[in-house]
């Protein structure tokens, strides 16, 4: 029997396939289609201190083999998440990683504090890379010093493992990765979305009400794989890789590049069963290749 369980920053997962933040809500919707406990883990919708309405619509635009979103962190706020979402999610045998976003370092601290010790929360994904919010968001993740500062301060407020989510909109992703590692990050996840824009030529204005949005989906996969590969050589902490995964082959590619687990975002939209197909495909492939433990392929790209 091939082993596909992994452990990342102390978080145990029955397989290395997660749902990416913001693409899976808190799991309720996809649970209509299949038992979400089949996944290795769920990274929740970005959670902020206060409830957020997010950006005006249109919030979505399709691009060649990709999509832009400018949701802008619509969410009910951390207290409601703790009260209404976590207790439900806790009933499933699936790692629950709460994705958190702050508009200031203090906000990050308070959210982390509130989630610390909440039963059912297995870890925090610290989003220092959201391109869709003004004053904060991505700005935290494009400068190594600020990124490190956020991590250090959040780390002090919680015993939960911290997975720091990196922005691809930077000149040197390895610098940011090293900075957050040194600041105490237990793992990194990458990539968040690339800043992009689509113009409606009939209307002569951007399709997105917010002008720009975050690009994700298969279009960005080569960039994501490259960044995972670079970060793998730069840091010791584990990596959760994402960006354009739709098939098990994509997942293997990320793991060979250095990811210890992968997350699926836009891929859920193309095929709601994508995560399950990735898990099954991965398991079969490992068997075919005679690999006894999925962890053997992590960073296996020569």
């Amino acid at each position: 029997m091939t082993k596909i369980a992994v452990e990342i920053a102390g978080i145990k997962m029955k397989n290395p396939v997660l749902a990416a933040s913001g693409c899976y809500g808190f799991g309720r919707e996809y649970n209509q289609l299949y038992d979400i406990s089949r996944l290795g883990g769920i990274m929740t919708k970005g959670t902020t201190l206060e409830p957020k309405l997010g950006n005006p619509t249109p919030r979505l635009a399709e691009t060649p083999a990709g999509m832009l979103n400018s949701i802008g962190l619509q969410n009910p706020g951390v207290d409601k998440v703790i009260l209404e979402e976590i207790p439900w999610l806790r009933t499933f045998d699936v790692a629950c990683i709460v994705n958190i976003s702050g508009y200031s370092i203090e906000e990050f601290e308070i959210i982390a504090e509130r989630l610390d010790g909440v039963s059912g929360v297995d870890g925090l994904e610290v989003n220092i890379s959201c391109p869709n919010v003004k004053g904060g968001g991505m700005a935290f993740g494009t400068d190594p010093h600020t990124a490190a500062l956020v991590v250090k301060r959040v780390k002090a407020k919680t015993k939960l493992p911290l997975i720091v989510k990196l922005s691809p909109n930077v000149t040197a992703i390895t610098e940011i990765a090293k900075a957050v590692e040194n600041a105490g990050a237990d793992a990194v996840s990458l990539i968040n979305t690339l800043l992009g824009m689509v113009i409606d030529i009939k209307q002569r204005k951007p399709i997105l009400a917010n002008t720009m949005g975050g690009l994700s989906g298969p279009a960005v996969k080569p960039i994501a794989v490259r960044m995972v590969y670079q970060v793998y050589t730069a840091v010791e902490i584990p990596i959760i890789g994402m960006g354009g995964i739709t098939t098990f082959e994509d997942a293997v590619e990320f793991m060979l590049a250095g990811a210890s687990a992968v997350a699926i975002g836009a891929g859920n939209f193309t095929d709601p069963f994508a995560p399950l197909k990735v898990i099954d495909g991965l398991e079969k492939w490992l068997e075919q290749e005679g690999i006894k433990d999925v962890r053997e392929i992590i960073g296996g790209c020569k």
């Binding site: 693409c23 809500g25 919707e29 635009a61 979103n69 619509q74 939209f269 193309t270 709601p272």
Partner: protein, 264 residues
């Protein structure tokens, strides 16, 4: 219950210059679907286009386990869809909340415009089945883009038509016909699906006359199931604050009273 499965294409036929009717065998969807719900259709086996396309249910043939969709060929996805002549396609549904009615309704009006007419046929069928007098007001740019006039008549609806150029029915807007209808007839409910200006007009009119109105909205969608928060529309919460609801999940049909339109 929502499913996502492969369904056999039974028919995919051009019914008007820009419109196709697609019939697929999918008992798992027709079994529970109600008028106003929609499906998300995968239009390509490749990664471009990436997203599924939302299309409303045009007919729900529960007895034979099929559904019919009517779609306008506009861009990448619908062009590819129109080229699928046989085989299977992946479809997820039934999605969202549909139209609703009460046993007590006597007389209702359905207002449809452009490809917004498509989801209203199965609604009319259900209302007629419920024993109501159903007035159907259809609007289109011109005769060539006017969907389903005959089908509504066949069901026994009272059909009135307006086209922009007068090539069929009255020259003008369907809202004008609605205004006349309202002034002469007691309506329990108005149902509306069509382009935003039309929907806006219908909402204003029904509001001013205090007639309950349900509208079906469109928004760009990614997941179609409520997870991505991409497709929201503004609503007034019960406590008076402004909030967002998901067109794909709480909608696409909303009570006009709860919606906030920017140009209110």
């Amino acid at each position: 219950m929502v499913v996502s499965i492969k369904a056999s294409i039974l028919e995919n036929k051009k019914i008007l210059p820009d419109f196709y009717r697609l019939k697929i065998a999918v008992p798992q969807i027709s079994k529970t679907a109600v008028p106003g719900q929609f499906v998300m259709i995968k239009t390509s086996s490749t990664l471009d286009p990436l997203l599924r396309r939302p299309i409303s249910l045009h007919r729900i043939n529960r007895d034979v386990g099929t559904i019919e969709l009517v779609y306008q060929v506009l861009g990448k996805g619908t062009i590819l869809l129109s080229e699928m002549v046989q085989g299977e396609l992946e479809v997820m549904g039934p999605l969202g909340n549909g139209f609703s009615w009460q046993q007590s309704f006597k007389r209702t009006a359905i207002v449809g415009g452009g490809c917004g007419i498509a989801p209203l046929l199965t609604l009319a069928e259900h209302l007629i089945g419920n024993g109501q007098e159903v007035h159907v007001l259809l609007g289109a740019q011109n005769k060539e883009k006017l969907l389903n006039e005959a089908d509504f008549k066949e069901l026994g609806c009272k059909v009135l038509v307006a086209t922009d150029n007068g090539s069929s029915g009255r020259k003008g807007f369907v809202t004008e016909i609605l205004e006349e209808l309202i002034s002469t007839t007691n309506l329990d409910q108005v149902y509306c699906c069509g382009p935003l200006p039309m929907t806006n007009g219908v909402i204003k009119l029904t509001k001013s006359k205090m007639i309950p109105c349900q509208v079906s909205l469109e928004e760009r969608m990614a997941c179609g199931i409520g997870a991505c928060l991409g497709c929201v529309c503004q609503v007034r919460n019960e406590d008076g604050t402004i909030g967002y609801k998901r067109v794909c999940h709480e909608g696409p049909v909303f009570n006009a009273s709860e919606l906030i339109f920017e140009k209110d």
